[in-house]
């Protein structure tokens, strides 16, 4: 059973007679136990969508069932069953109070979910353990490091053991070591507690390393859905680079080229500086075929490598812009995609 089922979720903001379509119609299906990434440039509508799914913002159109409760008719039911960790950077911070003790924040969160004092204490102790916060429970929140504070914020989202947790940019602002450490914690959420994780990110490596499936959003619509590998495969083939042995060089390379060009898995071959670059449909499956073909022709190789298109390439193709450079007008969560819309519509059709 799907734990998130959203259809046509949309949100307009109106200010001074000008209507901004922040989210134009997002469809999402997330299965239990998945780690799903919601990917998009700043201003694409990620946070707005997340705020709708967590009952912070009422959609102007569309329907959704989140963790078994109807988003519009039973928002309280949704709130009881989800965990939410707000983003830590930007307009608002991650939701902890400087002048609270770590343990107080955890106990308060338990009370907010109407969990008994003793049970909350037990769970807080377990979370402190799981999220490497040992020895910090009597510390003021303001004395924590960035990574510790972020882990506390995640712990707060888990006190009531929700089946579904929303993490808004869980690692933004953390140093590389804290980031990979955080990924480990997020993976454990799923493996040890069976929690479904819905996270937004604008780091492609994070999406790639952590998520089972990705929803790519741009200008308020989902432009692609799939596993990171599927998405990469859809954009362009993999690239195999190889060089072959041969006394005079050109002989061996030319021979290899004529052998490989016959192979059905090869889409394109280019030769430069004695190195062959092949574009193939699916790298893992193509490699043995290529090896056999060369072997059969008695050609030996000196080196071979397989490279994948990165999610950055995917993103560039899908949205026409790189995720890395934030477009100048892209701050905040509103977009006014006038002229760009035509390009997006083309990409949407690929679903």
């Amino acid at each position: 059973m799907a734990i998130i089922e959203a259809r046509g979720l949309a949100r307009d903001f109106t200010s001074r007679k000008r209507t901004v379509h922040a989210v134009r119609g997002v469809d999402l299906t997330v299965e239990e136990g998945e780690i799903v990434g919601f990917l998009g440039p700043n201003g694409a509508g990620k946070t707005t969508t997340l705020r709708m799914l967590t009952t912070l913002l009422r959609p102007t159109a569309g329907t959704a069932v989140v963790a078994g409760a109807d988003l519009l008719r039973d928002p309280l039911g949704v709130r009881k069953r989800i965990g939410f960790v707000p983003q830590a950077i930007g307009q608002t911070q991650g939701g902890t109070s400087d002048n609270s003790l770590v343990i107080e924040e955890l106990l308060d969160q338990g009370t907010a979910y109407r969990i008994g004092r003793e049970e909350t204490r037990r769970r807080a102790a377990a979370l402190i353990e799981q999220l490497d916060l040992g020895g910090l429970d009597q510390r003021y929140v303001k004395t924590l490091s960035g990574g510790q504070r972020r882990r506390l914020e995640i712990a707060l989202g888990l006190v009531h053991q929700p089946p579904l947790v929303f993490l808004d940019e869980p690692t933004t602002g953390l140093d590389p070591q804290s980031r990979s450490n955080m990924w480990e914690h997020i993976r454990r959420l799923r493996s040890e507690l069976g929690t479904t994780v819905f996270l937004t990110t604008h780091y492609l490596d994070e999406a790639d390393a952590l998520c089972d499936r990705l929803f790519v959003i741009d200008h308020g619509v989902t432009v692609a859905v799939g596993t990171p590998d599927e998405l990469k495969r859809r954009i362009s083939g993999d690239v195999v680079t190889l060089s072959v042995n041969g006394a005079a060089g050109s002989d061996g390379t030319a021979a290899a080229r004529s052998v490989l060009v016959e192979s059905p898995v090869v889409q394109e071959i280019t030769v430069s500086d004695g190195v062959l670059r092949l574009t193939v449909e699916q790298g893992e499956q193509a490699l043995p075929v290529l090896l056999r073909a060369l072997d059969g022709a008695g050609i030996t190789m000196s080196a071979i490598s397989l490279s994948r298109p990165t999610l950055d390439d995917v993103f560039l193709t899908l949205t026409g812009r790189s995720l890395r450079d934030d477009s100048p007008g892209g701050a905040g969560n509103s977009t006014d995609g006038g002229p760009e819309l035509a390009g997006v519509a083309g990409a949407t059709g690929k679903e």
Binding site: L57, L76, R79, F84, T92, G95, T96, N99, T111
Partner: protein
């Protein structure tokens, strides 16, 4: 019942946080005590009847029966209208959103805070009243108790308004001048330092718009031993009415999902 327990939960959390940094509360009560010490003595030398419209006896006791109710309202006005600042920083810290996603009643996020402000105001007012007694205030105990009722109502209304406005504006830079431009004229028109009846007709007319003017007048009646007359009824109606309307408006802002 969960609304009440939610309110108490928010109250306890907010009380704990404010007691950790009590400077704001101490400064809040120091200011009216300064007025009491440095301005109050000026009133004691006025001719009899100046402060109370002709019936008073004049002198120290009369002066403080006039002045202390005014200072109490001033304390409530400043204390309660500035509480919004704290919620802007809480909003910025993501705390408001965090609790809006829990099953906690969203109205309790307001009422728990307001309750905290009411309780702290009662404590501050007690300090101020005791200081007043030290300076020479002599008033019936019933009047003092009645002034708490008015103060609680004023605090409920103004704190609700302050939180709701701050949560809508979300910027200290805009909130500070707004509060000042509302509070200063209200204080001037409420006759805190001197009775409005000393003023010319046009000023008395304008002063009719300040709800606190009625409340202060009613409190002064009580301090002078008058518990039941038209001024008292007016004061009570205005106090209850403003508190109810502002609390309701504040709740609307906290409930809506559109912030």
């Amino acid at each position: 019942m969960s609304f009440i327990s939610d309110t108490l939960f928010v109250f306890r959390r907010q009380l704990r946080l404010i007691l950790r940094v009590p400077v704001f509360l101490i400064v809040g009560v120091l200011q009216p005590i300064l007025y009491l010490a440095l301005f109050g003595p000026l009133l004691t030398k006025l001719p009899a009847g100046t402060l109370s419209g002709g019936t008073g006896t004049g002198g120290t006791a009369d002066a403080y029966r006039f002045f202390v109710p005014g200072l109490l309202i001033q304390l409530a006005l400043f204390g309660s209208t500035f509480v919004g600042f704290a919620i802007i920083s809480e909003w910025r810290a993501g705390i408001i959103e965090r609790y809006r996603v829990t099953p906690i009643s969203r109205v309790a996020l307001l009422t728990g805070r307001v309750l905290r402000d009411v309780v702290t105001l009662v404590v501050q007012s007690t300090v101020l009243i005791l200081a007043g007694v030290a300076f020479g205030l002599r008033a019936p105990i019933g009047a003092v108790l009645l002034s708490y009722v008015f103060l609680v109502l004023v605090a409920i209304g103004l704190a609700s308004l302050s939180y709701a406005t701050a949560l809508r504006i979300k910027s200290e830079d805009a909130f500070a001048p707004l509060v000042n431009s509302v509070v200063v004229p209200l204080i001037l028109l409420s006759g805190i330092m001197l009775p409005m009846t000393l003023g010319p007709g046009w000023l008395q007319g304008i002063a009719r718009v300040s709800p606190f003017r009625y409340i202060i007048d009613a409190m002064r009646e009580a301090y002078a031993g008058q518990y039941w007359n038209a001024i008292m009824v007016e004061g009570i109606c205005v106090a209850v009415g403003t508190a109810a309307v502002l609390l309701w408006l504040g709740s609307r802002v906290f409930v809506t999902e559109n912030t």
